[in-house]
């Protein structure tokens, strides 16, 4: 077998999907897995039988992991709260996410440590989404005592999409806070110091961007460079969904590649030895992952980058499929429910589609024979966009009820522009930190490129049959 890790991961994922569809008792699956494990140990000498048993075991482990993720620990906060309950709860904990002001509410996740209901106090664990009706300066790691009702998050629509989305993050309860008196802030600080530092750095970099650009280009650049999408106007986001170019508004492998390239270049100039360079690049990638909020696409790109760096360190040939499944396992082992997350699916399938289809399409188009460099570059861009479009078409159509026919053309025009904007964005942020005078100069071409991108996008979605809602 050429790539055993890939096949094992595929079967592990199949197990997760199977457990999502069919309700089988946890202990029945455990018994089956134990039997298969014993059989594999006993008949391990026969290669074919061993392989079949190991793959079946991977499938059963996928099933077990998903079933296990549904079971909450006894101290989980959800166990102390009855649904449709109007009683008041006191809750102690610390802020586990960067508070975000959205739709006139301040949202954050509180990691609960203690809950009090009717004079009875219990130690607890788990996370609660907090929705505050007023603005207050709060940060990751702040210790809070909150008082209010605890209830189920709203579902939005028959599919209960939002509730399911939160459940996949391990959040089952929401606490609305309407009054200042419902919140008591304590002096102590909890949480991981490194994450606090990264989040502070992220908000500082956002300030740097908004210092040099007006609100709209700043929001787009913050999304492209720092992964902060909250400032993007609804209309802009929607028009990019229609043209199938919304992926440029998230941090992806390209950004991770730029960070690695910049750090590598800097360390090369400073004459660092090869091994030290690789280790420092890996550390910088991890910090960048934390700064951008460690979403699924960033984790995928970071893990893939780390696998590539490890391969260089060990002087081995890096394999894209192995690095991709390593990233998938990194996300799916601690939280198998992420397999049902649309962001996870789009991120992995688009990369997989590009890796699989692109070389085949390139061979089919006989690009090697093409001698005109610009034409070759354009056709390559077309093929990459077409590969990603083919891979993600079904998922997008099923989830967003939209088929974007203009997407290939839009990606050919917009992706090179977005690449240039990302490069300009990194240059702007770095120069803003080092030498503000230069950043002011760099802000003009960056803003002009963003304006061009928005105009192209606006023109493309006005084309007849650019997109179809169904």
């Amino acid at each position: 077998m050429k790539r055993p890790l890939v096949i094992l991961t595929v079967f592990y994922c199949l197990g997760i999907i199977l457990a999502g569809w069919i309700r089988i008792n946890f202990w029945i699956i455990t018994a089956m897995a134990s039997a298969v494990f014993t059989a594999a140990t006993l008949w391990g000498r026969k290669n074919g039988v061993f392989l079949a048993l190991v793959l079946f075991l991977a499938l059963l482990i996928g099933c077990l992991n998903l079933r296990n993720s549904w079971v909450l620990s006894k101290c989980h906060i959800r166990k102390f709260v009855a649904y449709q309950d109007n009683s008041l709860y006191w809750m102690d904990g610390f802020i586990a996410s960067q508070p975000e002001f959205k739709n006139n509410h301040l949202w954050f996740i509180l990691r609960a440590r203690q809950i009090q209901a009717e004079k009875l106090r219990y130690k607890c664990c788990g996370e609660v989404l907090v929705k505050m009706d007023f603005e207050q300066e709060l940060n990751y790691g702040d210790n809070l005592t909150l008082m209010g009702n605890l209830g189920r998050p709203p579902g939005f629509g028959p599919s209960q999409g939002y509730r399911d989305f939160l459940a996949r993050q391990g959040i089952y309860l929401i606490m609305p806070i309407q009054d200042y008196r419902q919140i008591i802030r304590q002096d102590k600080f909890s949480g991981v110091g490194l994450i606090r530092g990264c989040l502070w750095l992220c908000s500082y970099l956002e300030q740097v961007i908004s210092r040099y650009l007006p609100a709209l280009p700043a929001s787009i650049l913050s999304a492209m460079v720092l992964g902060q999408k909250r400032g993007i106007p609804w209309l802009v986001n929607n028009s990019m969904v229609k043209s199938g170019t919304v992926h440029i508004l998230v941090v992806s492998g390209f950004n991770v590649g730029i960070v690695a390239f910049m750090v590598n270049l800097l360390l090369k100039i400073l004459r660092f030895p090869r091994k030290a360079r690789i280790i420092l690049i890996a550390i910088c990638l991890l910090i960048y992952c934390a700064i951008t909020g460690a979403t699924n696409p960033v984790i995928r790109a970071t893990v893939m980058g780390l696998v590539f760096l490890a391969a260089h360190l060990l002087k081995r040939e890096p394999d894209i499929y192995n690095s991709l499944v390593s990233a998938a396992l990194f996300i799916l082992v601690p939280n198998p429910r992420q397999l049902f997350d649309i962001g996870f699916q789009l991120s992995f399938i688009s990369v997989l589609a590009i890796v699989y289809f692109y070389p085949k399409l390139k061979a089919l188009a006989r690009l090697e024979a093409c001698r005109i460099k610009i034409l070759k570059f354009i056709i390559e861009g077309c093929l990459v966009s077409f590969s990603a479009w083919m891979g993600t078409l079904v998922i997008i159509a099923l989830n967003f009820r939209i088929i974007s026919l203009v997407t290939v053309l839009a990606n050919i025009l917009i992706v090179p522009l977005a690449t240039l904007i990302t490069l300009c964005g990194f240059t702007l942020v770095l120069s803003g930190l080092i030498y503000p005078g230069l950043a002011n100069l760099f802000s003009f071409p960056t803003a002009a490129l963003i304006t061009l991108l928005l105009n192209i996008n606006a023109v493309l979605i006005k084309l007849p049959l650019a997109y179809i809602y169904f």
Binding site: L216, L235, A448
Partner: protein, 109 residues
Amino acid sequence: MFNFTPEERKVTLFLLGLALCGIVLSNLVKVNCRMAGVVYPQIQLARLNLNKVSLTELIKTKCVPVKLAERIIEYRNSHKEFGSLEELKEVKGIGDQRYEKLKELFFIE
């Protein structure tokens, strides 16, 4: 004198090119105020003009339910035009909460 690697050459060229574009654009914006519209995105790209948007456009954006879109246009036609975004609150079906969302979507010229 200089011993650049190919990567360093590309980075140097990129930075110099960016600075050159920056100087030219900065000059154009100072000299001709219309150039600001080329360099910085117009508000129309991020928001809808409440006094000009058609019913079809409003429905097509899927930002408001069809009935509410009809009521907004009806209100605009009966009052000639919206004087301020606050007037949206006078349209039946728009409370404080919806208004807070809608004001991010529209602008008035």
